[in-house]
Amino acid sequence: MSRLKNVLETLNAQGKKALIPYVTGGDPKPEWTVEIMHTLVEAGADIVELGVPFSDPMADGPVIQLACERALKHNTSIDDIFEMVKSFRETDKQTPVVLMGYLNPLEIKGYENFAIEAAEAGVDGALIVDLPPEEASSLVPFLNENNLDSIFLIAPTTTDDRIKYICDQSSGYVYYVSVKGVTGSATLNVDDVAKKVAQIKAHNQIPVGVGFGISNAESAASVSNVADGVIVGSVIVNIIAKHQENKATINSEIKTLVSSMRHAMDA
């Protein structure tokens, strides 16, 4: 069983929901990322989403755009991201790591090489923002061969037919983008989210993570009431942006925020 599936099933058996924070690899410096990942886990993360920086992050708002710019100032590449995951795995063998990014860096690396090296590094799944399942046949077979999960997005605009199709193509979990817009742009409406998640779950077994617009403990808790996982990005990245020069502060503030979400979700 994949590490992702295992974690999600265990949580489910305990009646708990997954907390899935996101940070961009290499932000603000490549040397700091592994420690930040460990901090996320200590604070209660069940899965870590690690962003692969890209020069043209079309689906992201200014917060994550700037995170990419900071990471790219240090030329953080996919290979560097693999090194980070390897180093993270030296002391954490349980927590699944999902890479999130855009397609071109994978295309240039080569899909098979990407999948093999990701698996070797200890990555568990990949979520490529600009790769809908219709175009994914160049990547997914290699992910499958290497026991990596393929996570696809569902949006508020997604029709019933597509929901089924996307769930069938996904493994691990599906990522429900809770608002129309870019990352960090708006706050979600929990009632709308509840309706859409119910619509997804009506015909599909796969766990549903919800992201975009979750910015504090309250919104994390209310989303966790209706979904299997809560994905949190821009608020965490904002802490990194604010304290770029101070590693200790970044880690302590992230720990405070993420633990508050964990407590609220488990309460």
């Binding site: 590449s77 295309e107 240039i108 600009d130």
Partner: protein
């Protein structure tokens, strides 16, 4: 070239492209985040049902005639031809269109689609400002809300067009992210679209972007080639030997080329922006110097570095300053049906001055790239041969840039 035989493009093959997922061979497709997929599928469905619909076609043709002023002339550049001393040079006068470039052919088509889809708001990215002006123009006429995204670097280079858009009632948003040019304007337009997808139609300005854009922009722009083909047959009694067009995203080029693709004897040259020279790395010539990758919704030749980050581009011409290119051009390159070359900033500037002095026609700096290569190529051809250069736009918008280089304040 032995490989050429199995790269032959038959009518059957051409009619199958793009396929139902928007592919031209390995290129094209639909690489966008899920939020946009349903809109793209809806647009595709609507477009396919309308494109041969007599009412839709009639509306489009009427606007082309009465609003744009088509057909645009095919002008024999007699003095330039005799100076160059080679092939007869004809200019397809897209500069004479309303708003001064080929861009309006496409914006009229897409604005009609917006109307049929019932979208009250349109957005567009622009580099040189020509597509922004053409979009603002049709938006004014159809009473649509309009927002144009433009890199702040291009706003500086194209002040006149920025003011034109504002006079036309459009809001112009200065894009300050990334390299602050066309690709970043497109990123920002995509971000707006994903946020306002319910009421907004994205009018893409070239044959790039996700399917069905490369197809529908090509179809709207193909009026250029259909006219040129008929005009050449009428004036010369035969087809031309060579076609030349500049390639930014590639819409004016595909518009000229497409109706000639099956005419194997007609050579096609797409001219990319060589900037300071392709060998310097400071250019915008993905077909000459890039490799396949994925950006802005399609797979195509692209300028990206060894770790897959998109590279900064350079061109004197804002409309060519883009790291990608329409996917159908990538396919035509691989099929060896069209040849892609580049000319430098300096060569384009010299052509700008030469055409102005010799023919009294001031070309856009984008089109000047086509003129520069056309002159070079024509000189190597026989006098009984015929070349058509696509004069994609007029140069008024570039007078500031040229004056700056001359050290003159206008």
């Amino acid at each position: 070239m032995g490989a050429k035989t199995n790269k032959r493009i038959t009518e059957e093959l051409l009619n199958q492209l793009p396929d139902d997922k928007g592919h031209f061979g390995p290129y094209g497709g639909r690489f966008v985040s899920e939020t946009l997929m349903p809109s793209l599928l809806e647009l595709e469905e609507k477009y396919l049902s309308l494109k041969d619909d007599p009412t839709f076609r009639k509306e489009f043709d009427k606007d082309m005639a009465d609003y744009v002023g088509r057909p645009s002339p095919l002008y024999f550049a007699e003095r330039l031809t005799s100076e160059v001393g080679g092939a007869k040079i004809y200019l397809k006068r897209e500069d004479l269109n309303h708003t001064g470039a080929h861009k309006v052919n496409n914006t009229i088509g897409q604005a009609l689609l917006a109307k049929y889809l019932g979208k009250p708001r349109v957005i567009a990215e622009t580099g040189a400002g020509q597509h922004g002006v053409a979009t603002a123009t049709v938006a004014a006429r159809l009473n649509l809300k309009c927002k144009i995204f433009m890199g702040i670097e291009d706003i500086r280079r194209q002040t006149l067009n920025v003011y034109r858009m504002k006079l036309l009632g459009a809001e112009v948003e200065a894009v300050t992210s990334g390299t602050q040019t066309l690709k970043d304007a497109m990123n920002e337009a995509l971000r707006d679209w994903v946020t306002n997808v319910d009421d907004t139609f994205y009018i893409i300005g070239t044959v790039a972007g996700p399917h069905p854009y490369p197809q529908l922009v090509r179809d709207f722009q193909s009026i250029i080639g259909r006219e040129a083909r008929a005009q050449c047959l009428e004036k010369e009694g035969r087809l031309p030997d060579a076609l030349v067009a500049c390639v930014g995203g590639g819409s004016n080029a595909i518009g000229l080329f497409y109706p000639f693709i099956l005419d194997e004897e007609v050579e096609m040259y797409g001219v990319e922006a060589g900037g300071h020279g392709v060998e310097t790395g400071k250019h915008a010539a993905p077909l000459c110097a890039g490799k396949p990758g994925v950006l802005h919704g399609n797979r195509t030749y692209l300028m990206s570095d060894e770790s897959g980050q998109i590279q900064g581009t350079h061109s004197i011409s804002a409309g060519l300053d883009y790291p990608g290119v329409g996917p159908e051009h990538s396919w035509l390159k691989d099929m060896e049906r069209a040849e892609y070359v580049s000319v430098t900033d300096d060569e384009a500037l010299a052509a700008f001055r030469r055409l102005t002095l010799v023919e009294g026609i001031m070309p856009a700096l984008e089109s000047s790239h086509a003129i520069a290569y056309g002159i070079k190529k024509a000189a190597t051809m026989r006098k009984d041969q015929i070349m058509i250069i696509n004069l994609s736009g007029r140069g008024d918008k570039d007078i500031h840039t040229v004056a700056d280089i001359d050290g003159i304040k206008v």
